[in-house]
Amino acid sequence: MLGHNSQATVHNPQLADHNTIPSAVVRRQRNTALSLVMAFVIVLLLVQLWLLVEAVEGYLGGAGAIAVPAAIASGLCSLGIWGLWRVLQ
């Protein structure tokens, strides 16, 4: 089954040989995926920025307990961004 699939990939007219330069279609797909990943990273970053602002406001207002869940959520966002960054590398 695996061999059949790989054969199909090789004979696909839209895709070039994996060992050579990718076709225009593949490059376009990669471009789109890269843009999507970047957009997702930026959204996560904005969420982190909002969490930091809320944590600082809570701390200054005497409600420092807000900062703990904010820090946990920020850490999860950081992990997500790190994972996406790894995918890009």
Binding site: L34, S35, V37, M38, V41, I42, L44, L45, Q48, L49, L51, L52, A55, V56, E57, G58, Y59, L60, G61, G62, A63, G64, A65, I66, A67, V68, A70, A71, S74, G75, C77, S78, I81, W82, L84, W85, L88, Q89
Partner: protein
């Protein structure tokens, strides 16, 4: 390089446009760094908040004033539980005293007691708090002022703890 290339270009063969070009991967790496910095900042605030709560959890009793030095409708500044925590003591009636943290619950500006209007005022963003219980009345603050637990021991007024 061709012969028409200037001599300085041969010595300094860097194309500024290429040098300043940032790929999306490089930009995403930069964003990942910023993400780490934001997480670090939020964590730092959380640790400081935890430290503050831990400090307030074990307060000691402190003599802050005597009844004789507090006429009705007058406020006195004192520091509790540490010398870095300013508080306001207000005498509302003959036998009623209240005390609050002087930090506004919006952005920590120092609040003042306005005896004429009978409320506590934050001059930074026009916040107002009820002097009876510290609840927010107007302006951006949404949380009541931290209340200081008081105890009368004869003619002495003691601060016993902080209710956040």
């Amino acid at each position: 390089m061709s012969d028409s290339t200037p001599h300085w270009r041969k010595d300094f063969p860097i194309n500024w446009e290429d040098d300043h070009y940032v790929t999306r991967r490089e930009f995403t790496s930069f964003l990942a760094l910023i993400s780490g910095a934001l997480f670090f900042g939020t964590g730092l605030v959380a640790v400081r908040g935890w430290w503050q709560r831990w400090r307030l959890a074990s307060p000691n009793s402190v003599l802050i004033a005597s009844v004789a030095e507090m006429p009705i409708g007058v406020a006195k500044l004192f520091y509790y539980p540490t010398p870095n925590d300013p508080c306001l003591l207000v005498r509302l009636s003959v036998d009623r005293f209240v005390a609050y943290s002087q930090r506004c619950t919006h952005l920590s500006c120092p609040v003042v007691y306005w005896a004429a209007d009978g409320h506590i005022h934050c001059p930074c963003h026009e916040g107002r708090f009820a002097v009876e219980d510290g609840r927010p009345l107007a302006g951006p603050p949404r949380r009541p002022l931290s209340r200081i637990t008081l105890m009368l021991r004869g003619e002495e007024i003691w601060a016993m703890g902080v209710e956040v």
